[in-house]
Each structure stands twice: as structure tokens, then as C-alpha cells.
């Protein structure tokens, strides 16, 4: 090993075993869509409970995607019958719609890039996906109404000495204050 590493570790080469598998084809894409609930909503709450069963499955080193139906588990496997294709296309469209890509149902480069972005591991669609969808529609409604009318004397936008002073004061305690 080198005697010194850069402190930000930018020179450390991550061994391939610690690199996330990239999504390159429809199979891995299907895994992605299944994991985040686009094929069947994931019962994320229970995923944590079925520890013994899952750990056995995982210990087999099997990276196939898991679809839970109630308490029993079933495998999606790699068989490609037309209905699964339709399911995949529907899931792709749902994913593309959610992230604002053109809804084509095709596994194109933009979709691939979006799937490979760093992201949170919590599924996008959980078991009660209906509410999630509705929640989204409700939260994407218009901005809250701007209340309070501004008057000529309301010059808050211009940095006021107090705010600057306060921030200066607080810079000593919380350096991000200015950026925050």
C-alpha cells in the first residue's frame, strides 16, 4: 500500500467487489424495478422482519430479485413470457413518469443513467402504493399561497445588519451558517 493516502481518499481505488453492479441490460433493470416496487409494491415494513428467511436466501449468494406476496416468497426468475414483458414495459413507463423522463417504456440510455444514479434504498412504491401515488399528486399541487403583502418599507431581501451580524456571530459557532 502507498505510505500516504489523500485525506479525502480520492486516490483510494475501490476494489471491484465494493462497486455496485451497474444496470446495463433489461435483466438488471428488472431487478431495479422490482426492488423499488415498480413491478409489485414492496412491503418494506415486513422486509425487516423476515430476517431468518431472507438471510438464508441471501446467504445462498443468489442475487435474483425477490417479490414478496404476503408471507410467502416467489421468484421472478429470468423467464421472458410476453406478460412479463408487458409488466416490464409498464414498470419502465411508471419509472420514467416518476422521474420526469419521456414515457416510452423503452430501456433507453436516459433511463439507464437514471437507474444508475446514487439513490436511497427505500422503495418508491410500497405496499400501499395507491396512497403513495395520491400523496404525490397532492404534494405536486401548486405552491402555497404567498400570504402577507409586501410594502415599500419591507426591505428584508436586502441583507440587514442584524442578519449579517447574526450570521457573522453564528459563523463562529456554525461555519455553514452562511451557506445555510
Amino acid at each position: 500500500e502507498k505510505l500516504f493516502h489523500y485525506r479525502d481518499r480520492s486516490d483510494v481505488v475501490i476494489p471491484p467487489s465494493h462497486q455496485a453492479e451497474l444496470i446495463t441490460d433489461t435483466d438488471t433493470a428488472e431487478d431495479f424495478l422490482s426492488k423499488y416496487g415498480f413491478i409489485t409494491p414492496v412491503n418494506w415494513e415486513d422486509a425487516q422482519w423476515d430476517e431468518e428467511k431472507l438471510s438464508e436466501d441471501f446467504s445462498s449468494g443468489d442475487t435474483m430479485s425477490l417479490i414478496q406476496e404476503g408471507d410467502s416468497l416467489s421468484w421472478s426468475g429470468n423467464t421472458k413470457d410476453p406478460s412479463e414483458n408487458a409488466q416490464l414495459i409498464t414498470a419502465l413507463k411508471e419509472f420514467q413518469r416518476m422521474i420526469g423522463l419521456p414515457v416510452t417504456g423503452l430501456f433507453d440510455d436516459a433511463t439507464k443513467a437514471a437507474m444508475n444514479k446514487p439513490r436511497c434504498g427505500v422503495p418508491d412504491k410500497e405496499a400501499d402504493s395507491k396512497t403513495t401515488a395520491e400523496h404525490n399528486t397532492t404534494t405536486t399541487g401548486g405552491e402555497g399561497s404567498q400570504l402577507g403583502n409586501s410594502t415599500e418599507t419591507d426591505q428584508e431581501q436586502v441583507k440587514d445588519p442584524e442578519q449579517k451580524t447574526a450570521e457573522t456571530r453564528l459563523v463562529h459557532t456554525r461555519s455553514e451558517r452562511l451557506s445555510r
Binding site: H18, V122, R169, E176
Partner: protein
């Protein structure tokens, strides 16, 4: 085992059954969190990690009634939210991390948050890498019950967006969390507009002001235009207002006439004069009077302590409120106005019979933003009939109180943070 843990969970959380939205939410206002000892990151110092998580929890506390406290000592089952780092198979979790790239963290309803230590997590404002602060705020949002939101600008988007110079919880994220936990409300001890006069580079005199809310030892700058408090507030009173009592004041009065421009803070039976130029209280004013001074000395006839007070520019009098009574003080004559004290119900009659604070006000506040006087008590406020109101509806009584509304419907997101998070 599954049912047992679920029953445990039931004790600290309840499912909100509102219409079609079913989300889990904590049923306690103060939540304990801990960075698990065996789950430290190998990339940042422990202090950095703990500091970033403190800031992340504080950001949620600033927009919700929840308060968070780091607890490194209680038994683990008393900890509501546990955070830890791991790679691959980690912390007994059923979901294995995938290495560098793609999945960087996940959260569980029981309050566990796991971060993939194969990711390149960085402290705020370091530019490259994945901001641990941003990811932490996102995952805490999950633990608090929020799902992924696909709205531009939401912190709950599932994919990581490189950090802009700064990020904050926007209006709709605030509404989403308040939908689960309610909005912030509570009694204030003082509300006032702090006015400064400055000269522009062209030599013009410009009047500027900011609105402040005080509650005990905390204060918030309220940005009227943005309908929210300043990012990062509340701040401790002693940090922002030098010399006034650290646990807050009863009233702020700004006497502003052509010949007089003085700001006073009142607490108990004493009052202070504030030096706007030097942003601190006067220890001694131009006339050699030392502060603090007894209220009875500076305002003869006015008893201390008072509940609140405000200066009415319409008649150049200060209205002091105490219990059911109001004392109008003629500043020019330096004595109580004739006929005072009177009942508040008499001087400020209710427009809607029975809809009146009657006594023990919290705040009397003249707002330059609304060009109106507000009387606050508990979580409600009454707006005083203005001259504009009376031009439209002449039958309205002078100084009448319009029907009350809730403070948090007019001034938003004025939320406490836990005292241990105040200095973050």
C-alpha cells in the same frame, strides 16, 4: 418475534388513519437518536458525523413540532432512531448494501437508518462526494413517516441530486411533515418589528425593518415575504440581543416620533433602552440614566410587571397591558392618559360579541407588513380594526377586535428546537 416487535413499535408510533393516507408517525414530541458505536463511518471523524446528524435532525425540528435529542447513554430500546454505517451485509440488516454507487442509504420504520460506507460521504460544503447532511435529512424524513416524493426541490426525492450551495426543507416538504405531526404553535412573549435607518450610497435615508418573534429564551427572524422564519432559526436571545434578559422579555416598545426614536425592552418590573446603532442595551443613556430602570420610574403610573405593550403612532401613546386592564401612557406628557387604566374590553371592544381575549394578553404587536395591530393570546390572535377597515365599514368600532384566528395560520413554521440543538 415479528408480532412482538410490532407491538413494541405500536407503543411509540401510531398509524395516522386520515382518509386515504396511511403513514406511520411517532406519537411523542421528543425523539431520542444515537449514532451506533459499531456503526461509525471510516471516512469522517466521529465528531463530524455526530455534528452532521445533529444538524440534520435540527432541520426537521425547525419545521415541525418534533424535537430531537442525541442520547448516548440510555438503554438501546429507549432510543427511537438509531443511525449507523456499514458496507455489504451490515448491522444485522436484511438488505445488503451494493458497494460504491447506486444505493447509498436506507431507513426502516423501527427507526434504523443505515448508510453505505462504501459511498464517498462528505461533510457539507465540500463540493464533491455525497453530502452526508443531505442524505441524513432524507432518511430521517423516512423514519418520520414520509415516502419518496417526486417533486423537484423536495428533499424526499429518491435519487441524489448533487448538492446546491445550500439546501433547505421547502414549503411542500414542511407541509408534508406537518401533515403527519401538525404545525408548530405556542405562546410568544414578544413580537415586534425592529426598525433601522440607513443611508443608501446616494445619501438617501432608507427605513428598513425585520420582524422578530420571541418565546422564552429563543427568537426567530420572520421573513414575511417568504412566509417562514429565517433558515437556521431559532437563535438564543443572548446571542442576538445583547444585554436583555437571556430568558426573553415581556414587551418591546418602539417610540418613534419626529423628535424621538427610542426602543425599550420590558421584563418584570424593569425596562432597558436599546442602542440600535451598537446592537446592545444602553448601560447609560444620553441623560446619564443607567439601565435597567424600574418601569414606575420611566413610566409613572404604569405598574410592573406588564403582560405586553405597544406604541400607537396614531395617538403617540404607549398601551401597556396587565391582566384585564390597559394603561395608555402619553409619552409627550410623560404620564398616564386621562381616564386610564381602563378595561381592555372597553378600549378594544369585540366586533363579534364574546370573541375577545379579555385579559392576560401575550403580545400586542404593530406590524408594518400588515399595517395593523395584533393582540396575541395563547395560540390565537385578534386584529384591531384599522382606519382602512372603517372606511369600508364605518359601523366598525374604533380599535375594535376582529374575530380571532390562529397564529400559525398567519405566521408559519415558528418551531422550537431542543435546547441541546440550539447551538448547532
Amino acid at each position: 418475534k415479528k408480532r412482538h416487535l410490532a407491538s413494541l413499535l405500536g407503543q411509540t408510533r401510531r398509524r395516522r388513519e386520515e382518509g386515504e393516507m396511511e403513514y406511520m408517525a411517532f406519537s411523542k414530541a421528543v425523539l431520542r437518536w444515537r449514532l451506533i458505536g459499531e456503526g461509525y463511518s471510516s471516512q469522517l471523524s466521529i465528531d463530524d458525523q455526530r455534528y452532521i446528524f445533529r444538524l440534520a435532525f435540527r432541520m426537521w425540528s425547525e419545521v415541525s413540532p418534533l424535537e430531537f435529542v442525541e442520547d448516548s447513554h440510555s438503554p438501546l430500546e429507549d432510543i427511537d432512531i438509531r443511525l449507523g454505517f456499514g458496507t455489504g451485509r451490515h448491522l444485522g440488516c436484511t438488505q445488503r448494501f451494493d458497494g460504491a454507487g447506486r444505493e447509498f442509504a436506507h431507513a426502516w420504520f423501527l427507526g434504523d437508518i443505515h448508510f453505505d460506507d462504501d459511498e464517498h460521504f462528505t461533510a457539507p460544503n465540500t463540493g464533491d462526494g455525497i453530502s452526508l447532511l443531505k442524505v441524513a435529512v432524507h432518511e430521517i424524513g423516512h423514519v418520520l413517516g414520509l415516502p419518496h416524493l417526486y417533486r423537484a426541490g423536495s428533499i424526499m426525492q429518491p435519487s441524489y441530486l448533487p448538492q446546491e450551495s445550500s439546501f433547505e426543507l421547502d414549503w411542500q416538504d414542511r407541509k408534508a411533515i406537518q401533515h403527519l405531526y401538525g404545525s408548530c404553535n405556542g405562546r410568544f412573549s414578544a413580537v415586534f418589528d425592529w426598525i433601522r435607518k440607513e443611508r443608501t450610497p446616494y445619501g438617501e435615508m432608507r427605513v428598513r425593518f425585520n420582524t422578530y418573534f420571541m418565546r422564552d429564551g429563543l427568537y426567530w427572524l420572520y421573513e414575511n415575504r417568504q412566509n417562514r422564519t429565517r433558515y437556521g432559526d431559532p437563535v438564543a436571545v443572548e446571542v442576538g440581543w445583547h444585554g436583555i434578559p437571556a430568558n426573553g422579555v415581556d414587551a418591546h416598545v418602539h417610540v418613534w416620533t419626529r423628535g424621538n426614536d427610542a426602543i425599550y425592552f420590558f421584563k418584570g418590573s424593569q425596562f432597558w433602552k436599546y442602542d440600535t446603532e451598537n446592537d446592545q442595551v444602553f448601560t447609560e443613556d444620553e441623560e446619564g440614566r443607567r439601565y435597567p430602570r424600574p418601569i414606575s420610574e420611566g413610566f409613572p403610573g404604569v405598574p410592573g410587571p406588564i403582560d405586553t405593550a405597544f406604541y400607537d403612532r396614531r395617538d403617540s401613546q404607549i398601551y401597556f397591558f396587565r391582566g384585564p386592564s390597559v394603561y395608555a401612557f402619553d409619552v409627550k406628557a410623560n404620564r398616564l392618559a386621562k381616564g386610564y387604566p381602563k378595561k381592555i374590553t372597553q378600549v378594544f371592544p369585540a366586533v363579534l360579541p364574546g370573541d375577545h381575549p379579555v385579559a392576560n394578553l401575550d403580545v400586542a404587536y404593530f406590524s408594518y407588513t400588515h399595517n395593523a395591530i395584533f393582540l396575541l393570546k395563547d395560540t390565537s390572535y385578534w386584529r384591531v380594526v384599522s382606519s382602512r377597515d372603517r372606511r369600508r365599514r364605518p359601523f366598525l368600532p374604533y380599535n375594535g377586535l376582529l374575530p380571532h384566528r390562529e397564529v400559525d395560520e398567519q405566521w408559519f413554521d415558528i418551531c422550537n428546537v431542543h435546547s441541546t440543538a440550539l447551538r448547532v
